[in-house]
Amino acid sequence: MIILTTKSKNKKSKLFSSDSLATISLLISFIVMAIFFTSQSEFFFTSTNFANLARTLAVVGISSIGMTLVLITAGVDLSVGSVAALSGVLASMFWLELNIPLPISSLLALLTGALVGLINGLIITVLKINPLITTLASFSIIRGLAFVISDGQTNMLNNQGFYFIGRGNILGIPFSLLVMIVLYFIFFIILRYTSFGRNLFAIGASPEMSRLAGINVDKHLLISYTVTAFLAAFAGLIIASQLGSSAPRAATGLEFTVITAVVLGGTSLAGGKGTLIGTLIGVIILRVLNNGLVLMEVSSFYQEVARGVVLLLALSFDQIRSGFLHLRRERT
């Protein structure tokens, strides 16, 4: 038996992995927040408000799935907001200008979104340009194209079927929320139980190790960026459906809300670490924070401030905690 100097440590890590600990502290802060808002506003803890909340979760929620994948691979995608805007614009343009039936127009918009992701992925893997730079460029290019294609105009999308995506209910539950829940479930399974999902973590932790283990790193990155853009395009359709119109200005700043939610949920910007459950809680926390502040009639300027403060607080706690763990480990 090898004399291990650190036997006792293993036992400890069994009780609470740092991952589950992060999720638990996130949940606790969520509950504290909910209690606070309930005490501050009589409207907060009402079914009307919950229905309202549920309807507004899907856009950020669905986009955050893709972002989680990409961040796990140690990448990032800044173009999700632009892709969402382009998707709405394209759906309306295909329909209004080219007279393509709206379902097919929507599908084409989704595919175009996926194509943008594929191109992002190709630039990152083939040209080996840093993901931050690549998607910063496409953030700008795609947003610009949305303006060019729509000529800067907002277009009405007057179609009951299309409205259903963002406004419809099934058994009283918003359709978009149902889609989101299904997607979370599917991607939870993918991340936890498929080689593809697990390989993303390996790639994020060490591309070199992954390559040596026979993992096709480029293929995995391509798929991740494509999926991310596809989901962003879908979020764009939800926005257009909810607004009843497509605008090139839509989803401005979505990428930062999404990154905030994902990071809040414990996914590491350094890659190799993250959970979809964390992301989902992160999304809900941001949404509830926003909703609660609105109900408390806090000015929207302060809401921006609050969002940033919450992010910093969450990460500081995480840092202090891991710093503490690190100190105890320093000896080895």
């Binding site: 090898i2 293993n10 069994k14 080689s195 697990r198 973590f201 060490s206 190790m209 040596l212 320093e330």
Partner: protein
């Protein structure tokens, strides 16, 4: 015995520079072939060709007499060629079990199940694999929560589990303690008995004599010799590797009758790391702290320098009590510190030799707050000449292109430039080859003669015996014994460092 691997006339060039010239290699099943050579001799290139990471220009590889063509590492893996790399590649936030089977996690059964990972089976397999080495590591523990040694063990298991036919071990013992090295050798012998052929790369010659049947020596991309282990001894091996003789080191024991100790540590404590540390280090003296890894020595030296903070105790430099809380304090007190992982903490790899040399010594070189290029260059050149730092492209070469030994010298030079009085070195020759190693020893010797007080932390017993005037042993955070150069022997040191002192 059957020939399991044959490499014929392997040639490889990078950008027109021939790094391998007609290298032959033969390997029989159940034997250990030690592959020796200085850094840059072509060992790792040869190995990377074998595992499919690099493509050879010309030559042939035959496995069991069949010619093979490896396009990527996964191809060679299919033929049972497994590697244990010098630098560990692992995913810190994934479990031990997952790290073991990355790329081929066990799947379940059934139409849907066969696409999904069966975690129960993965963990069971991991337990079985860990059982191979009889170690107490929880397969579900995160890699991040393991010690360096445990991580290395996981890496070794990862390589040997499954159908390893040819195992390549690149300096597998670099981070292991002596009992663990023994453990590893036992594993190697087991594998040998099972018919696994092993290519063993190490800079530690005594290991080679212990474990190998044959040695193959490369120098500057040439095949120098392949010999049975009985035909060679340490000296002849070194000569073959370096191409010249390296003299046996004889320590001249200078009398250190300095009035005051250069460094005096008393009552230094840090909870969980070290306890009641008292020692003195005199001017012109090299003192080594020898201990098994994880005995607290690293934390101790870090605390003396200020990279960590001790709980209590006093540190005096030339009689003056110094409050050391940050690295800046250590530096101001005249203490230099060469960390254990120089690549991460000691150098900026992408910066030039010049910039690295002057990195922490801006003040001396500033004129009215600005750098003067000429002055900076002159200063740096002085050290390059003094320490014999060798680099291909001159002073503006990025440090990452230097060999381990020369990198270490750059770190050294930086502290000397800063005019330190006490120099602390952690494992100064890890990853440094034989030739450069004796070079570094000579430098330390010379510096000590000039009055520098040097404190070396090392887990290499030969190194400790070769360079120190005095040796302190550390066990479980406490100094257990002190030996003069004359008194010290391997037995005594090992016993003291294992806490088995009468």
């Amino acid at each position: 015995m059957s020939k399991v691997l044959e490499m014929r006339n392997i040639c490889k060039s990078f950008y027109g520079v021939k790094v391998l010239k007609n290298i032959p290699l033969e390997l029989e099943s159940g034997e250990v072939l030690a592959l020796l050579g200085e850094n840059g001799a072509g060992k790792s290139t040869l190995i990377k060709i074998l595992n499919g990471d690099y493509q050879m220009d010309t030559g042939k590889i035959l496995i069991d007499g069949q010619e093979v063509d490896f396009k990527e590492p996964s191809d060679s893996e299919k033929h049972g060629i497994k590697m244990i790399y010098q630098e560990l590649h692992y995913a810190a936030d994934l479990s031990v079990a997952e790290n073991l089977f990355i790329g081929h996690l066990a799947k379940g059964s059934g139409p849907i199940g066969k696409h999904l990972i069966d975690w129960k089976k993965v963990n069971q397999d991991a337990k079985k694999a860990l059982g191979l080495l009889n170690v107490d590591i929880d397969p579900k523990a995160m890699m991040r929560d393991l010690s360096v040694i445990e991580r290395q063990i996981v890496e070794i298991i990862k390589a040997i589990y499954g159908n390893a036919k040819i195992l390549v071990m690149d300096e597998p013992t670099a981070a292991l303690t002596p009992p663990e090295v023994e453990m590893l050798f036992k594993i190697v012998n087991d594998l040998k008995a099972k018919g696994v052929a092993i290519i063993y790369i190490s800079h530690r010659l005594e290991e080679v004599f212990h474990i190998a049947q044959r040695v193959m020596i490369l120098r500057d991309g040439n095949h120098v010799a392949t010999k049975n282990i009985e035909e060679v001894n340490s000296d002849s091996l070194v000569e073959l590797m370096v191409g010249r003789e390296i003299e046996e080191r004889i320590i001249e024991l200078s009398d250190n009758k300095a009035t005051a100790p250069a460094l005096e540590v008393s009552g230094l404590n840090k909870f969980g790391s070290f306890k009641d540390i008292n020692f003195k280090l005199y001017e012109g003296e090299i003192v080594s702290i020898f201990g098994l890894l994880g005995s607290g020595q690293i934390s101790l030296t870090r605390s003396i320098f200020g990279a960590e903070r001790a709980d209590r105790g006093s540190i005096k430099v030339y009689g003056h009590e110094r409050k050391i809380r940050f690295a800046q304090d250590g530096k101001n007190a005249g203490i230099g510190f060469v960390p254990i992982d120089r690549k991460v903490r000691g150098l900026v790899l992408d910066m030039s030799v010049l910039k690295n040399l002057t990195l922490s010594n801006w003040n001396n070189l500033l004129t009215l707050g600005f750098f003067k290029n000429k002055k900076e260059r002159a200063h740096s050149q002085k050290w390059i000449d003094a320490l014999g730092i060798r680099m291909a492209g001159g002073i503006d070469t990025a440090v990452k292109f230097l060999s381990g030994g020369n990198q270490q010298k750059v770190v050294l030079a930086r502290w000397l430039e800063a005019n330190v009085k006490v120099l602390i070195l952690n494992e100064p020759t890890w990853g440094v080859d034989v030739g450069a190693r004796s070079d570094i020893y000579d430098q330390l010797d010379m510096l000590a003669k000039q009055g520098l007080a040097i404190l070396v932390v090392s887990s290499d017993i030969h190194e400790v015996l070769a360079i120190s005037h005095r040796i302190l042993t550390i066990y479980d955070g406490q100094l257990t014994a002190e030996f003069s150069h004359k008194e010290a022997s391997q037995d005594l040191l090992l016993n003291a460092a294992a806490g088995r002192l009468a």
